[in-house]
Amino acid sequence: MLLSVSFTLLEGLVVTLELFALTLLFALPLGLIISFGSMSRWLPLRAVVKTIVWIVRGTPLMLQIMVVFFGPGLLFGLPLLPRFTAAVVTFVINYACYFSEIFRGGIQSVPRGQQEAGLVLGMTRSQIFFKVTLLQVIKRIVPPMGNEFITLVKDTALVRVISVYEITWMGETYIKQGMIWPLFYTAVFYLLVNGILTLLFGWFERKMDYFK
């Protein structure tokens, strides 16, 4: 029994981790772009970006998953996206918005003098961003990013609303057979993944300790 439960849960874990990894892969760069939009000197762009971020952060992720999956069909008669794709799209948009605010906070917390020092040394704006600002931003955003990564691992359980069979779904199937322990077993997997993430973030934070 233990072995068969293990295999079922591992199957779900693969889906969970795929969703986790794909979300990060696309949401991190998209979040950076959104953060530039939210700091734009051009008011219309800034207003549009801030409104989108407000809507995405202000509504439940579960609701967004349903809208992205069912919306195109019900509103425009379009074919449904594959369930997993719909899940990835929703997570990328949602997490990019949260990341963008973390990036914005990080970028704005780098003292203005850093940029000015780069300017008077004849650097271009992109040189200043990549050679001077970026690493200082990364150092500052490590702790809040750690939080987001851990939340993301657990949020993946929400895709059950559109029947993507991730690990929590798999664990739940045993309830119908009158077993509760597979749910605790499921929790162990989450704890393991988040334990590894916590260690990695701790290691990275120490790695960035060489400067202040």
Binding site: P111, G113, Q114, E116, A117, G118, L119, V120, L121, G122, M123, T124, Q127, K131, V132, L135, Q136, K139, Y210, F211, K212
Partner: protein, 261 residues
């Protein structure tokens, strides 16, 4: 011909006029001190000259070349402004060293990036980069910081950080080196080492503009002094004469407040 000629600079922040009809010139190899109380516009003037602020009126001419003319937008294009900034070096009150780089890397970063724009960079890459490091170490030696090359800014005292910042500005060989209250953020016991470095630069005939609150230093090191108040130049002239025998009542009042302290 003066190396720097500033003509009728005017600058507003919103409704407030912070600089009004500022004109002065500076000869090659001379040191100019700008004194005045806080809020008199000294720092804004220095920032205008370094293209960190854009004046509303006036011209900035270096070596006969008009670098900035408020009436001519062609002189204000970002791409060219970047190159024009290289005529000037700026040492900030708060050092603004890059925290993630060692002292040596702080000095060599900008020269390395600029070297990439040289046409022969690809062919002579290794040689060019080695030269830059050698020059960087030489600058550190001049600043008395040879043994601090591999230290990060947070491992250095304020005075050491400011000397690294001076070396960083010198590394690009600016025509005119500007200092914005270089010792104001330092503990009193650390100002001496920084002033000593600036003094030796003056002795080597480095062309400099120094915004400072150190009156004795301005008198002894600068050739010329400008006294500013409420955005205008109240008095300018030979350093010893302005500080010891000011002509204007406002200068006298300002200086007497300093001698009381």
């Amino acid at each position: 011909m003066p190396i720097l000629d500033v003509q009728h600079i005017e600058k507003h922040f919103g409704e407030t006029r912070v600089l009004e009809d500022i004109s002065f010139s500076l000869e090659q190899g001379q040191a100019l001190a700008i004194i005045g109380s806080s809020g008199s516009g000294k720092t804004t003037l220095l920032r205008c000259i370094n293209f960190l602020e854009t004046p509303d009126q006036g011209k900035i001419v270096v070596n006969g070349e008009t670098l900035f003319d408020a009436a001519d937008p062609a002189t204000q294009r970002e791409r060219e402004v970047r190159k024009k900034r290289l005529h000037f070096g700026l040492v900030f009150q708060s050092f603004n060293l890059f925290p993630q780089y060692t002292a040596l890397d702080n000095i060599t970063l900008a020269p390395r990036l600029l070297a990439q724009e040289q046409p022969d960079f690809k062919a002579r890459k290794k040689e060019i980069l080695e030269e830059i490091v050698v020059e960087g170490r030489e600058l550190l030696r001049k600043m008395g910081l040879s043994d601090r090359a591999d230290h990060y800014p947070h491992q250095l005292s304020g005075g050491q950080q400011q000397r690294v910042a001076i070396a960083r500005a010198l590394a690009l060989k600016p025509d005119i080196l500007c200092f914005d209250e270089p010792t104001s953020a330092l503990d009193p016991e650390l100002t001496g080492e920084v002033l000593k470095v600036i003094r030796s630069l003056a002795e080597q005939k480095t062309t400099m503009m120094i915004v400072t609150h150190e009156m004795a230093f301005a008198r002894d090191v600068a050739d010329q002094v400008i006294f500013m108040d409420s955005g205008v130049i109240v008095e300018q002239g030979e350093a010893r004469q302005v500080i010891e025998h000011p002509k204007e009542e406002r200068t006298r009042q300002f200086l007497s407040r300093y001698s009381e302290n």
